[in-house]
């Protein structure tokens, strides 16, 4: 079995684990640093908005053009009277972008370009965009983003609780800020495809977070009825317990996106495939990070502020101190518990076989395994 399998087992039993919640301050710090960098990049460098957001035209010639980039640039400038940006794509075709021209004029420019480049005008693909189209897309995207955030916060508040909804929202904003920041810093071109990718992050970022929250909710169901673990302890275990799953989820999500990026970037050079997958790739990575390092610790922080949880923490700490003083290890006793809230049939758990360990072994799934001392 793969190594991850046994690591998963150890994580599951709590034998190994990283104290995500305990070290949260470090991660908060890192995140704040990244976010500040992203915002700085955004304000200082700004985004490299594609032709779709400025209005203008983008022409794509057939493959294997003989004309060089500078030649094509000159042709395009002569034909349009505006500055042109020419890119040579992976397959030898040229992408000619001319900002600021009117959609009406584009036809004549296209004809002229076709003549200069010695290709049939029918073989030139053209993207003509009015100046307000990009704004419209962007506005719609923001609108969608806002509506989605409101709805998802309401939903998560109902399905889980408002603290988790808030933490998920923070993680979401965190992901989007980072993604936009990377775009600003690296200078990737922002196109409608980028916007699509960015909007998809919404769903994905939360997808990961929701899986961790789900486990957290399940494990903290009866938290006030015990005194061994604080909320943070359990939150930490939830993250560790779902870590393998989170890694798998992210890898499996990134694999197809990576394939898209490879094909879109490697073969087509540019275009929708590339734009979507690039922002997705960045956003997915940020999303996996934030659901583990930001969202859940944040929930723990919020929860620990509750009077109930404060009291619990006090009890737990007192008990631990007492145990330490006695040099004794708190052995949980589970034999006579009466608050078994599971409605699964008992026989499912009644695994036959000799009992090698003391009856006091506390063994809920994903729960304190008793080895934790």
């Amino acid at each position: 079995m793969s190594k991850l399998g046994s690591i998963g087992a150890r994580l599951h039993r709590g034998e190994v684990g990283y104290d995500f919640v305990g070290n949260r301050k470090i991660w908060y710090g890192i995140s704040i640093l990244i976010t500040i960098t992203a915002i700085l990049g955004l304000t200082v460098r700004g985004l490299n908005m594609g032709i779709e957001f400025q209005g203008g035209a983008a022409f794509t010639t057939p493959k294997h053009m003989s004309a060089s980039v500078s030649q094509a640039e000159k042709y395009a400038q002569d034909a349009s009277g505006h500055d042109a940006v020419v890119q040579k794509l992976g397959d030898g075709s040229l992408r000619i972008q001319i900002a600021g021209i009117d959609t009406d004029k584009s036809d004549s420019i296209k004809t002229q370009l076709a003549k200069d480049l010695n290709v049939s005008s029918e073989n030139i693909a053209a993207d003509l965009v009015g100046p307000s189209w990009g704004d419209q897309i962007a506005n719609k995207a923001w609108e969608g983003l806002a509506i989605f955030m409101v709805l998802v916060v309401i939903y998560l508040a109902i399905a889980f609780e408002w603290r988790m909804a808030l933490a998920a929202l923070v993680a979401l904003i965190h992901d989007i800020t980072i993604t936009i920041g990377i775009y600003a810093l690296v200078g990737f071109e922002v196109t409608p495809g980028t916007v699509i990718g960015l909007l998809t992050i919404l769903g994905y970022s939360l997808y990961d977070t929701v899986v961790v929250f789900d486990s957290l909710k399940e494990q903290t169901k009866d938290i006030t009825k015990q005194t061994r673990w604080t909320y943070s302890d359990i939150a930490n275990r939830s993250i560790n317990g779902t870590l393998v799953r989170s890694i798998n989820t992210t890898v499996v999500a990134l694999l197809p996106v990576g394939a898209l990026l490879f094909i879109g970037g490697g073969f087509l050079g540019a275009g929708v495939l590339n734009d979507i997958s690039l922002s997705l790739f960045v956003g997915l990575a940020a999303g996996a990070y934030s659901s583990i390092f930001i969202a859940t610790p944040l929930v723990a922080d919020l929860k620990e502020a509750e009077p109930q949880m404060k009291a619990l923490k006090k009890r737990v700490l007192a008990k631990r101190a007492q145990a330490a003083a006695q040099g004794d290890q708190p052995e949980p006793e589970a034999t006579d518990r009466s608050d078994d809230d599971y409605d699964e049939p008992e026989d499912a758990a009644a695994v036959v076989g000799p009992r090698a360990q003391p009856a006091s072994r506390n063994r809920g799934r994903g729960r304190p395994s008793g080895k934790r001392r």
Binding site: N123, P192, L202, V211, K221, A259, Y342
Partner: protein
């Protein structure tokens, strides 16, 4: 092994075969439907098939922001459809997107420049007097035409054509209103009795153009007459183009469809302009049992012009007592007139259905509508580039799928026997539904949609991961496989539902709010998310239940992916009570 004989575990894993059968039947049925419908590939969008896509945005005039509403947008789409398809391509499609955008997709091989000009301009609507008309298809000419002369007298005028009357509230002559109500009833009756009632002037009309002395006696008359005689409106290519180049001042020929039959018309110069119509609406006339009617309100100048023309027309005999309502060179209706209609409002009655009346009213209104359209984006994709993009998308999808499969094989080994078929079922369902949605709701697969489908591979695979990891957790607790599956399922199910719901919510919001390419992407994402839930519930889980009975899995074979030893499971324990939360009542 534990014996899950009683209680819920028995019922929970009952009938896995039934779910499997259900989804297999669904797949077979959908696939059969796909082949039966003849659409075995999804319809491709412009960016994959090549062609031109134009996005127009409605721009209301100042103070008329409410003019951008659904009715007006639908009318505009209708009109643009006529125009674009009038260019000789039937494949062009026009649809609204969002609240204020119209997308016009013109496949490759069409003159896109001409198409762009066509959709950009505002509609031209005229009222022209009819000089002559004739049905263009053989079937209709054969039927008799009893009502040629006495239009005012009795019910013998069996015209299926609508007629225009002054509305009852107006100051039209009393006699006119009286007859109109009686007639409307008879018309409606007739229309009900003879569905394909042939309209008035057939036999006589071929001779009539020469006699049209009233208004169109000009030098060009002869030429126009020849044009009219040659005109064959049963030809599809002619229908939209016949009256295209006409100007308002000159007489023209045009085609028009009445009661499902195409007619050709010889029309006089425009008498009333579309902008003279202040408002038109479809109303259901309950008082006179005339059924659906279209009422028109004219502007001040319009009502004068309309009074003049109707006064003149009323003196004529059929068909010259008719006026043609000509929209973009095509006659959309040709009501006949009985008397001068003065009061500034008129109604057109006939055997309209609600839809017909609504559509006519929209067209009448549209000429005066404060909606213009602004070209927001024009994308022309050459067929070569489109093919390349499709190719790249498919390759990327194949690579992505292969990578996921390899990952699943390495990490889940035997369990991939469940995961890979589940992915395949998802893929088949997605493909078939996309192919069916092409003709169904006009779904066209574009590049972002392909992207969405590829991204969805991850979402689908993730559901299995959630489920499998839960099962492994249970096995690590020392349970044997079958109880593990049944215990893992309710929890995995909830996680899958919650996370898929979030994903679906994102897709739905994007689909509703956004425009353009984003929508195609959101649609695929939403579709695949729904399919993911279906597949996990009806395929993955039942298959897991069935396979859990196999020795290979139940004994935790080394390659099964659920080998307890490799997972680091604890040695099997026997317990009578199962602890739940990290609870310790003694110390609480």
């Amino acid at each position: 092994m534990a014996a899950p004989k009683r209680g819920r575990s028995a019922s929970a894993q009952s009938k896995p075969g039934r779910s499997l059968a259900l989804i297999l039947i669904a797949i077979v049925a959908l696939t059969g439907g796909m082949f039966a419908s003849g659409h075995t590939t999804p319809r491709l969008g412009i960016d994959l098939a090549g062609g031109t896509s134009i996005t127009l945005r409605a721009v209301p005039e100042k103070g008329q922001e409410s003019a951008v509403n659904k009715t007006n947008m639908d009318t505009a789409v209708d009109i643009m459809n006529r125009r674009v398809n009038g260019l000789g391509v039937s494949e062009a499609e026009v649809q609204t997107q969002g609240t204020r955008n119209i997308i016009v997709n013109i496949p490759k091989g069409t003159n896109s420049e001409e198409a762009r000009q066509q959709v950009g301009t505002t509609a031209k609507l005229y009222f022209r007097p009819v000089l002559a008309t004739e049905a263009s298809s053989g079937a209709a000419t054969a039927s008799p035409s009893p009502s040629t002369s006495s239009s005012a007298s009795s019910s013998s005028s069996s015209s299926a054509k609508p007629k225009a009357t002054g509305s009852s509230s107006s100051s039209a002559t009393p006699s006119a209103t009286a007859t109109s109500q009686g007639r409307a009833a008879s018309d409606a009756l007739k229309a009900a009795a003879t569905s394909s009632a042939s309209p008035s002037a057939t036999a006589s009309s071929s001779a009539s153009p020469s006699a049209t002395s009233s208004s169109a006696a000009s030098a060009a008359a002869a030429k126009l007459e020849a044009q009219y005689t040659a005109l064959d409106c049963s030809k599809k290519s002619v229908q939209n183009t016949a009256g295209k180049d006409s100007t308002a001042k000159d007489a023209t020929v045009a085609c028009g469809k009445v009661s499902g039959v195409w007619y050709k018309y010889l029309l006089g110069p425009a008498a009333v302009d579309g902008t003279d119509v202040k408002k038109a609406s479809a109303v259901f006339n309950t008082t006179s049992a005339a059924g659906w009617q279209v009422t028109m309100d004219f502007t001040g100048g319009g009502s004068k012009k309309f009074a003049t023309i109707t006064g003149e027309l009323a003196k004529n005999t059929s068909p010259q007592n008719e006026f043609g309502i000509v929209l973009d060179g095509q006659v959309v209706s040709s009501p006949f007139v009985q008397g001068a209609i003065t009061g500034g409002n008129a109604e057109i009655s006939g055997s309209f259905t609600q839809e017909e009346a609504q559509s006519l009213a929209n067209m009448l209104s549209y000429g005066a509508l404060p909606l213009t359209f602004h070209e927001d984006s024009v994308t022309t994709v050459t067929a070569a580039l489109g093919g390349e993009q499709l190719h790249a998308g498919l390759i990327a999808g194949a690579i992505g799928l292969a990578l996921v499969v390899i990952y699943l094989l390495i990490f889940y080994r035997g369990l991939s026997v469940i995961a890979i078929p589940s992915l395949l079922v998802s893929a088949i369902l997605t493909y078939v539904i996309m192919a069916l949605l092409g003709p169904g709701i006009g779904f066209a697969l574009n590049l972002p949609a392909v992207c969405g489908a590829i991204v969805a591979i991850g979402i689908t695979a993730d559901s299995f991961i959630v489920f499998f990891e839960r099962i492994r957790d249970e096995i690590r607790e020392g349970r044997s496989l079958r109880p593990s599956v049944e215990r893992a399922w309710p929890r995995a199910r909830r996680t899958i539902l919650v996370s898929d719901f979030v994903s679906f919510l994102a897709a739905a919001v994007l689909f509703i709010v956004t425009v353009g390419k984003v929508q195609g992407f959101a649609f695929t994402l939403g579709l695949t998310t729904v399919l993911d839930v279906v597949v996990v519930f009806l395929f993955t889980k039942p298959l897991m239940t069935i396979l859990a009975r196999r020795k290979f899995f139940a004994d935790g074979h080394k390659w099964s992916g659920i080998d307890p030893k490799a997972l680091g499971a604890k040695p099997p324990l026997r317990r009578t009570r199962r602890p739940s939360a990290p609870v310790d009542p003694k110390e609480a």
